[in-house]
Symmetry: C2
Subunit: 389 residues, 2 copies
Amino acid sequence: MQLDFTYYNPTTIHFGKNSLTNLNDELTQYGDTVLLMYGRNAIKSNGLYDQVMTILAETGKKVIELSGVMPNPTYEKMMEGAKLVREHNVSLILAVGGGSVIDCAKGVSVSAYCEGQDPFQKYWVEHQEITNKIVPVASILTMVGTGSEMNGGSVITHEESKYKVGRAFPAKVFPKFSILNPEYTFTVSQYQMVSGVFDTMSHLMEQYFSDQGANTTDYLIEGLLKSSIDNLRIALKKPNDYEARSNLMWNATLALNTMTGLSKTQDWQVHMIEHQLGAYTDCAHGMGLAAISLPYYRLVYKFGVEKFVRFATQVWGISAEGKNPDQIALEGIAALEHFTNECGIVTSLQELGATKEMLPKIAKSTTIIGKGYKKLTDKDVLEILEACF
Amino acid sequence: MQLDFTYYNPTTIHFGKNSLTNLNDELTQYGDTVLLMYGRNAIKSNGLYDQVMTILAETGKKVIELSGVMPNPTYEKMMEGAKLVREHNVSLILAVGGGSVIDCAKGVSVSAYCEGQDPFQKYWVEHQEITNKIVPVASILTMVGTGSEMNGGSVITHEESKYKVGRAFPAKVFPKFSILNPEYTFTVSQYQMVSGVFDTMSHLMEQYFSDQGANTTDYLIEGLLKSSIDNLRIALKKPNDYEARSNLMWNATLALNTMTGLSKTQDWQVHMIEHQLGAYTDCAHGMGLAAISLPYYRLVYKFGVEKFVRFATQVWGISAEGKNPDQIALEGIAALEHFTNECGIVTSLQELGATKEMLPKIAKSTTIIGKGYKKLTDKDVLEILEACF
């Protein structure tokens, strides 16, 4: 706990089977016009769309809809939403879906009244402070992974320039409230569930593997990693196990609600590589992260071996007896690999849609952060990508 | 994660060596008159009082002082503060000290403008909703344990009736901001440090030992318990170890900022017994908790043996091999007892100031909650007290 920090997270979380009953009360806090954002047809086929529309009608809201928000939401979609906000003087943006829809909703919020400069350039590329008016965002979460329901994260893909970039906005952009009913995640496919859990685990590991020693944040991360592992095993056998699905849902929120990054330098190099992989292939985010994580951690572990030893012993229960630190550390990474295989995680870039020709382009366009155990070179990134091809 | 919950914690935490530098900015959010509450002379001898007064002067605040807030703050002290708030139209109550000062500050906040009924009766005994105006509270923490810096907890002792009672107020009573500099805790005596850490651990255990199974909250609690154990061991050897003291400080905040109680029924029976012990003896809160915990857990473990097995294996690293659940559970409680001895925790009620004659009175006045593994009888409570006499 060596770094000073400020922690402030004002999102209200309504969690559980009956959490949607809080929507009426929450809506009374906002004005008349709601922009309802969602993805494709999932929320229509499972009945959630109708439930939400009923509550919006009951509370007398005028509803503007923006559907078709895609995984890896695009700049174009965000600008479409921004235009709707201005045209209809929207008072609340309600995102119903997974992280992509919520990320896009935050993008719409900060972009709608951005003047004088393109918002993508201003906020995502140049990381400028938000001085324009923003519109409150709220969410009803249907997919687990990104943690966007309780943070300021917003990842937007600029298709023309093949640039997928994330920004962690300050607390005023966090969802005002988020409704988390684990039952909404029952209809998510096994592939997407596993991908979401690996996204959670990657968030935890990228915060964990970023300094020496072990502070309170590391102990919390170890607990959340173990809960993710144990509960994914249960959910793979019994997809409708309410307890397991609810633990996976809450793990994902806590994994990136800024608490698990406190006092940590944080790495995010795996996410940076995956963002470019995603920009070229549109692969499931968690699968891309898993593919990259294994060669990445095998490359960098030597520079943070003490933490990798902790990871092996505390998270995977590996015995240290009679082994040197390198052996223990590598056994921890092997345990992670074994777990990805056990859960059917796809770690081959071909299967994720990449071609050999893409790899140098992905490597070249990856942002090198240098906050982890080793500052990568372009050659390192290419080697990592080739290792999972 | 079987219980639905709403989570909302709007306290801003400024943590670290330079955290006091945030005070100026925070003060600009509030009006002109600050009620500065503190305990005895500790903050004058370590220089913190002068630093805070300088910043208050720089920001042009008129300062009213209320000193002498005691451990187990009294109804009388709270009413003294309430009178000052009304007389001087106070805009912010700034508590500088440990949990007692912050608890008392919250009491002052809700009591100052309470009309028509005695506030202790209305808010602590009858748990009525707060409808009167409240005054914002903020804190600068100098002692670790209660978690009052990031929650609505306020324990007040009514001396005349020997009644010490706590209330968890809603989010509007939480401190608006809290400044946590681990260095302020360096001058706390070893006795008080250890007492504070056991208070933290008791908060964690009273939330943990309250249902079957293990959800994400339990994994977090196990992590925070391990961090408390590991870091107290370091701090006992090296009291000025910044990392250890900062981990202990942040553990205490997280142990009772409501997150570690989510989806748990929660017990709090140990606290209920200790509150009455404290009302009769004025003993250090954490020491009283430790004394009561050991016989209490030995009495109730049979009714929640699965969770006590988890406690033994996950928190204390006890091997389950070749043992039955009862053996493992009892080894976990024995490990806790061994740890209290190792850290010099006082678990004899005589040493904590109790007399044999007090025990039936303490037992009789204890509130039985019945949310833990076994609903105690008056006889059970007396037996627990006698076991630690």
